[in-house]
Amino acid sequence: MPYPTDPSPELADYAHPERLVTTGWLAEHLASDHPGLVVLESDEDVLLYETGHIPGALKLDWHTDLNDPVTRDFVDGEAFARVMSERGIDRDTTVVIYGDKSNWWAAYALWVMTLFGHPDVRLLDGGRSAWMAEDRPLTREVPSAETAHYPVIERDDAPVRAFKDDVLAHLGGALVDVRSPGEFSGELLHMPDYPQEGSLRGGHIPGARSVPWARAAREDGRFKSRADLEALYQEDQGLAPNEDVIVYCRIGERSSHTWFVLTHLLGFDEVRNYDGSWTEWGNAVRVPVEQGAPSEHGAPSE
């Protein structure tokens, strides 16, 4: 049985409030026995969980748990079943994910769980920093989960994942580039202050709108209100909820955050994340590339 939706009024306006929980909701449910509820932490910094985490939370590492070690792809159904089972998760479990950097990697983990169609997976609004800012408890104690029996599910990529060929077929349609303005224009091949990840060409996919992912988050890491998000994506950028939208960044992590916003907070019907993103497109032979600051769509980015 899935847990009821967090009834907090601050979530009520979102299209799918059942995909978010507040820190208060989580604390309340963790305070007593909570069968069928598992909390996962997924961070950019792989050691952060070890420095202290929400009591009872288990670690889910985007690199070692969710990516295939050989092929550039996500794990298959068997590996995913193992990762879930080890954490005491079965198909009926309500999973709450949180992490650092405004839930950037938590959103990525949630998106990967969506590829496997996990029915009830939610984000903790504000993630790790919101929990810590409220001085809520952290522990270094790693809980031992009772192994569950997660079924082997064949990944269904098509609804929420786009490949390079899908993007080529989609050119002219709605594309959102969530990288920094410098990466979008082609001045930078990587995020400011981040290592270069080996793209040979700089710029963006032709026609893409530039909406850096962090514009969907507030200072405290929580998502902006629905009205503010509608202003950002629908009014400024002219995206429509019934439009087929593809989002991308560098390797598909930052764009998972935007995918979550468009899909679950604004209720867009068809949003796909192109996880090949710029590390694929910027290296691919003879795909079209556009350079320069955004100009055609709406307001310039910050």
Binding site: E44, D45, V46, L47, L48, E50, T51, H63, T64, P69, D100, D193, Y194, P195, E197
Partner: protein, 147 residues
């Protein structure tokens, strides 16, 4: 491993003798043992060099006193992996002679078995720290020759 100073060789052994999960634990301990900056740097962050290749803000300074290298690092608590890399270099190289540090192979970061635990990409941060430390040592050695 004659090409590696003893404390660094010892760390490589420590990491090599345990599995990936315990390697992370070791890295965490090293991140916690990283000393705070002395006041002369804490008050003058402009004297530190930023290592842009790291995924989190990491600053370092190198001093050579009595033919020994002294290393100083600054990285936020929210970036324990980056701090851990700095901790490896501090524990392994602080107090060595300039030549001993210059002789450390550039691929040393990959001998800790961490690439599989923390993703190969992040290892570049440690490679960059080492190369910037070596560059600073070379620069100050040249300065001394000229002076």
């Amino acid at each position: 491993m004659s090409d590696v100073p003893a404390p660094l060789a010892e760390l490589i052994d420590d990491f090599g003798s345990v599995g990936p999960k315990d390697r992370l634990q070791l890295l965490l301990e090293l991140s916690e043992e990283l000393p705070d900056l002395p006041e002369r740097y804490a008050d003058h962050p402009d004297q530190l060099e930023q290592v842009h290749e790291c995924q989190s803000p990491l600053f370092l300074a190198v001093e050579i006193v009595d033919d020994t290298v002294r290393l100083f690092f600054s990285a936020p608590k929210e970036a324990p992996t980056t701090r851990g890399f700095a901790g490896i270099l501090h524990t392994g190289l602080n107090g060595q002679s300039p030549q001993a540090v210059l002789d450390v192979p550039d691929d040393i970061p990959f001998r800790f078995g961490l690439a599989e635990a923390v993703s190969p990409l992040r290892m570049r941060g440690m490679v960059a720290m080492l190369s910037r430390i070596k560059r600073q040592i070379r620069v100050s050695a040249e300065g001394r020759d000229v002076g």
